[in-house]
Structures are given as structure tokens and as C-alpha cells.
Symmetry: C2
Subunit: 440 residues, 2 copies
């Protein structure tokens, strides 16, 4: 079990208790034990900036933790980390600057602020000697910032192609697949919580463009000017264009493209784009995000996952919080294996459950299936389908019998295989494989 | 430009100058400037352990750098990092233990060694106070180790499904798509360099199983015992089974599955498995790898890229080397934006080149296409295809004319759009979008 020193408590000031903020509080609580084991830190949200302290909320926080003054997060010397999830570019800017000056590590998911004033903010962070973490600013739960900063650090980035706005992708997917108009698809997205009441920032393409500016700046080492970025929204796409695109072999996606030419000129654009139907990005549908990075050493790599929403985005905020906490507590472990005593032990292979594919070579005589089914039934292994193709009989009068079997423990399946092989009507060792019934 | 202090030189001892080792030397050289800017470190390979110093090689290293004694890498006090790329579990084990005891950070890509003796090695690393990095041990260029250790640190891992052996995936892809026998597909893989002369470790499933053991151990916080892992190779799959699988709606992949049940029992398996045709893992073909991670907070995320080969694997080794170097040189910067002066500047949007999709509403009279083509020709914009669907004429006698245009700068496309809109035969503002001709 755990033989480590007792965890260091790290105190967090959280600005914003909306969808993502509440997810951070909830998921920190849910996986507290695991996070303590992995980081050596006990992360505690002590102070929360909210607009309306009286509002009912589904996260449990003491009333005295709530405040309407952002300065409270900065002035409290107990707080070591400030998380900015209020959005916008005015109060958020003031808060982050003040927090950095007070020596607090900053975690933010504010893509608009970083795209507009990242250069200033990171210069200030450097000057104050405290980092800004911003994994949640791009592509929700996909750790693409870390991938660019660390995993691909030895690569010159040749290009990035991203579907990085789940709202637009949901709307375009519904227009393409269900033939909805833009207004109908938007209404549906709003109803399902994939689009805001005021969807302008998303559907105008600017949310994705802000993310593209951040990815491009990280890749190319200078802050991209917004004025050089081409941005086009999805509001005026005619349903007719989906039909013509399909006829030509394409789908329509809001695609962000970042690439450098041979002279080092960097192009950053976000706009509805025709993509070949067979391309991996063409199959990214609904509210999912995907980022395809082409590095000069690694080649093409793709990162895919939910791009928005309470849980995925809070996963990224918590990842940043863990690193920030380890820095503040001095428990930052460099790479290596971190054991923890929270999950049990290995499951013996014989106890693992699976569905199975089974192919037998059998005599082509009546009653064979009944004999096979009897052996399986005796071991309580269900049969979900049977194929006995008549066109595949070989010259010896032997035919394949293919069965799909319901879930059974591996040890029992082995027993069934022995029993089947012993049947006189079964000619050869059975051929069998696991079936993994993953959702498509 | 760059105003940072001059880089700290970090000296590396490299064990193994095979395919990946040579890639590390080559790619460190290729992106030296970029790595210096991003890490503050100048990484120099000073000593290289080789089997035969006399062999001709395509990487430029001074003859005196080569040695046949592994102890030379450990005893040289100048070397700060030891990279182990010799494989196997005997000399590699001795070398890593000695390097850790000598206080050198270790980077390794040795999955077999970690799967067998990871527990001991990480305990020794902890005791010696130096880390072991091993990104290259699993899934080549995909930074999956880092993702599990950092990006998803706040997640309880529910399951991992991985296609993590490129050799097997290439062979199975060819058997499925070209109807080859196992022996034919293996021969082709060997000829193309996707399989070794002795392919046993790959085709037996053990290479993938070693990787699965590492991923499972990282996810669940204890070292998985090899004896609890079910491993089945691909050698005995009958081409007939691909046909039946297809008829049932499945493909066959060598799939590694890691998952914990509700009692915390962890199942780790690698075996040929039927996967539904529509699932994202079913479309991972050839020598590519993919890892699908399901975390309790983030949901499903997928990481995809080349799983083996000189360049992808060296990308991961170099990523580890950069972190190791920053630790040894004391230049480890925590997250933030790292500017560098190596790439030029933003490309103005008007200069960016694209192909275009263009839909015009035109009068249904003769000569319309000629007028449109003349305007495009005047601006040197080529037409790659034209569709004028006769079934879509509306009641006003107006029909759509759809054109696919060759690459042109955006500014010139804007000029063409203005010219087309001014034509009397063009009824409404043209509808147009970019076309991204990505390879499928």
C-alpha cells in the first residue's frame, strides 16, 4: 500500500463556477484519493469567484468560500494557484495579471484572452517567474498543448489540421447526415446543450480561430496576429452544398489549418472546407474534436476526443492543476512509474469475460449443429448467431460452421473447445477468436 | 530574436546505433537549433556503444566516440544521460542499473525489459533519485506514456484498447484487403522493412503484450505480472476467418485490451480480435498504431500515429532526451509559451493558396459556362471539374453551376468572385469554400 509521506495541501482560488468550474470541483472531489497518490498533493478549492452567491448550485461548497470580488483570489496569501474560468478578456486579464504578480501559478481555459493578449501575459509570467497553464483552452479533454510542448518538442511542425469546435461540428454533421437546414441544426444543438443561447462566438468560426492561433503560436514560436488569420463562419452554408460536396467525394467541415511554407511564412485559417470523404478527419462527427499534427520527425499523428463539455474540459484543467500543485508543493516528480495502492490486482486470464467467434470444420450431415449446441448449452455459453455457408463445402464433404458466442469466461470457453474437438463430427481443431463489441 | 542565455551543453551516452539509435543522432542534428531554442540545451551524443565499430554507418560520428564496452557510458563522468536502445533484458538491465547508480538520467525504449523488470528498475531509480524516461517503449511516435502520466492524471482509467504492433497490423491489413495468406503477408512485410528477419517477438503477440503491460501498470499503479496476461499471436489465423468476420460485420485486429472491473480486478490481454467494421480502431491500417483510452472524467480519447520506424520512434526518444537534459542542466521550464526566432512571420491571408469549390446560380441559357470560364481564365484560375445538375433547375429557370477550381491565392479568388458576380448571367452571390486535398 501507500508508504509515501502525507500529502501536501495545495489551496486553489477558482474564478467562475459555471459548467467547467463546477466540473473541476466535482471531479477533484471524485478522484481525490487517486490524485493524492499520483501527485503527492491534496488539491483544495478554498475560494470561488461567482456572479451570484445566492444561486443554487449542485456542487457542495461552504457559503463563505464564495465571493464576488476577484481581488479576493489574489489577496489571500493562502491561495497558491488561481484558476481562471470566467472567460472574456477584461476582468480575466486583470485577474491573471494580478495573480501572476502575486506569485500564484495560473491555470486558464480562456482561448480568446490568450489569442488576443497571450504575448503580454506570457511575458509577464516570465518576468514574475510563475507559469501559466492552459491545456483546457484548446480541444477540451485532448492534451494537445502538452503534446506540442513536450511530446513533439523535437519536431519542426509542418502542418496542423484541426476540427476544434464541437458546436460547429455538431451542426455540420446534422446538416450533412439528416439534411437539416442551418437553423434547424443550430436549434437542435442548443436543445442538446452543444450550442449556447448566443452561439455567435462558435458559429462565426472565432472560437476555433482563437484555438488555432494558440496552436500556431506554440508551434512556430511567435504570437500570431489575429489580423493575419482568415476566419469564416458556418452560418451561411446552404444545405445544397452538402449534396454537391458528396457528389464530388467530399464532406464539409469547419477546418482550422496551420502550416508554414518553405520561406517560413505561417498561414492560419479557420473556415468551412471540403475534405475528401475517405480522410480520417472526415469521419470526426458530432461534438468530437480531432487534431492532426504533421511533424518533420514523427510524421502524421492524430489526437481525438471530446472537445468541450464539463467533464472533458475539467480533465484538462485538473491535469494543469496537478502540475501547478506539484510545482507549488515541491513534489514534482519527473517521469517514472508512480505506484499507488488504489486498484486491486491482476485478473487471472481464465476469469476474463468475452464474446467469441468460433469456426468448426464439420461433417456435412444432419444433427451436427444440435450436437455442437448441446455442448455449448451444457457449459452455459449462449449462441448469438450461426452461419453455415453452403458454397464452401470442400471435396471431402467437410464444411465450415461459424458461430458467434455470447460472453463467457475464458476458462469455460477452453472447456467448450475441448468438448467440441472431441465430437466425432468435428474434423479439425476449432478456430476461434475474441469479439470486442465496441460501440462504433 | 533570441535573447536567452547561451545554451547549456548536455552530454549523452547512447547504447545502440541500430535503426532507432541512428535516427536519434540524425534528428538531433537536423533540429538542433530548434531544440536549443525550446529547451535551452544543446544535446550532444558523445559516446556510442556499438557491436562492431568497423561497420560503415550513415551517421557521422567520430571514430573515437564508438565503444564496445557498455561500462564506458557509465564510467565517463562527463555523460549526464544514458540512452538504452540495445534491446534485450540482460546487458540492457546491467547498463541501466549502473547508469542510475552513477546518477545519470536514463532514457530507454526497451518494452521487454520494462515489462519484465520494471518494478525493480523504477524502485532503483527512486532510490538513486534519477528518473527513467520511456516514451519510445510504447507506440513509437505517439506520446501515450506522457498522456497517461500527465494529460490524464486526474482520470481513473476505465479501459484502454490498443493496436500497438505495426508489424502485425500490417500483416493483418494485407491478409484482409488483398486476401494474402499469413506467409505471403509476412514475406511482404519483411521485404518492406515492416517485419524483422526473425519476426517471432512481433507475430507471437509478445511485443504488443509488453507494451500493454506497461500501459496497464501506469494506469493502475502496480506492476502487472506477465503470468496473468493472455497473449495470442497472429501466426495461425486462417484467411477464411477474414471472410466470415466480414460477413458478420467485423474486421480482425491484433488488439490489446486493458480494463478494470468493478472489484478492481485488472485484465490485460493481447490477441487477434474481431472488431466491428464501423469502429474507429477498425480503420487503423498498415503499420499505424492507435490507442483508445477511456477515462472516467475525459471520456473516450484516441491517439494515432506511426507505431514504429526510425523517425517516429526517435521523435519519442528525443522528447525524453529534452526533458532529461532540462533536468540535468537546470533549464526545465514549466508550462508557458516559449518563443523562438526560427520561423519567420505570419502569411497574409490573401497570399494563402487553396483549391476551391464554387457554386453559382446561373441563367439556364447557352454560353454561360463560357462566360464563367473566361473570367476565371483571365485570372489564371484553372477549372478541374464542372457539374451542372439538370434535375435542380428551380421555377425561375435558374440552375446551379458547380465548379472545382485549381489552387489560387485567396486575393485572386476574391477578384474572380467579384468578376463573376458582375456577370449578368450570374443571379446571386456565389457560394464558395476551400477544398483541402488531404491524402486519405
Amino acid at each position: 500500500m501507500n508508504t509515501r509521506p502525507s500529502p501536501r495541501t495545495v489551496s486553489i482560488g477558482l474564478a467562475g463556477l459555471g459548467n467547467v468550474g463546477a466540473g473541476v470541483v466535482k471531479n477533484l472531489e471524485r478522484n481525490r484519493d487517486l490524485i493524492i497518490q499520483r501527485t503527492g498533493c491534496d488539491l483544495r478549492v478554498r475560494r470561488v469567484l461567482v456572479r451570484d452567491p445566492a444561486r443554487a448550485r449542485d456542487v457542495a461548497l461552504p457559503a463563505e468560500a464564495l465571493t464576488q470580488r476577484w481581488q479576493d483570489l489574489v489577496e489571500d496569501p493562502q491561495l497558491q494557484i488561481v484558476v481562471e474560468l470566467i472567460g472574456g478578456t477584461s476582468t480575466a486579464y486583470d485577474l491573471i495579471c494580478a495573480a501572476l504578480r502575486a506569485g500564484k501559478v495560473v491555470v486558464t481555459g480562456n482561448k480568446a484572452l490568450l489569442a488576443e493578449r497571450g504575448q503580454e501575459l506570457f511575458a509577464l509570467a516570465e518576468q514574475c517567474g510563475v507559469p501559466i497553464f492552459f491545456e483546457a483552452a484548446v480541444a477540451g479533454g485532448i492534451p494537445i498543448i502538452q503534446v506540442l510542448q513536450e511530446g513533439l518538442v523535437g519536431n519542426r511542425i509542418l502542418s496542423i489540421h484541426g476540427i476544434i469546435n464541437g458546436t460547429c461540428n455538431y451542426i455540420l454533421t446534422r446538416m450533412a447526415q439528416a439534411g437539416l437546414s442551418y437553423q434547424e441544426a443550430l436549434g437542435e444543438a442548443q436543445q442538446k446543450g452543444y450550442a449556447e443561447a448566443d452561439p455567435t462566438l462558435d458559429v462565426s468560426g472565432w472560437d476555433a480561430a482563437h484555438k488555432a492561433i494558440i496552436l500556431a503560436s506554440l508551434s512556430y514560436g511567435f504570437w500570431i496576429e489575429q489580423s493575419c488569420v482568415r476566419v469564416q463562419g458556418i452560418e451561411s452554408i446552404d444545405p445544397l452544398d452538402f449534396k454537391f460536396a458528396a457528389r464530388l467525394g467530399y464532406v464539409i467541415k469547419l477546418l482550422s489549418v496551420i502550416r508554414a511554407d518553405e520561406q517560413g511564412l505561417v498561414e492560419v485559417r479557420t473556415e468551412p472546407t471540403l475534405l475528401p470523404q475517405g480522410h480520417v478527419l472526415a469521419s470526426v462527427s458530432g461534438s468530437y474534436n480531432a487534431v492532426l499534427v504533421n511533424g518533420d520527425v514523427v510524421g502524421e499523428t492524430l489526437f481525438y476526443g471530446r472537445g468541450a463539455g464539463q467533464d472533458p474540459t475539467s480533465s484538462s484543467v485538473i491535469s494543469d492543476l496537478c502540475e501547478a500543485a506539484m510545482i507549488q508543493a515541491g513534489t514534482l516528480r519527473h517521469s517514472g512509474f508512480v505506484p499507488h495502492g488504489l486498484y486491486g490486482r491482476s485478473k487471472p486470464a481464465g476469469e476474463t469475460l468475452s464474446c467469441y467467434y468460433l469456426r468448426l470444420q464439420v461433417d456435412d450431415v444432419p444433427g451436427v449443429l444440435a450436437q455442437v449446441a448441446a455442448q455449448l448449452g451444457r457449459l452455459e455459453i449462449g449462441i448469438s448467431s450461426v452461419i453455415q455457408p453452403e458454397d464452401l463445402e470442400d471435396s471431402s464433404g467437410c464444411t465450415p460452421l461459424v458461430l458467434m458466442l455470447d460472453a463467457a469466461p475464458l476458462a469455460r470457453m477452453h472447456e467448450a473447445l475441448r468438448a467440441l474437438e472431441a465430437l466425432p463430427c468435428v474434423r479439425a481443431a476449432p478456430s476461434w477468436m475474441r469479439v470486442e463489441r465496441l460501440q462504433a
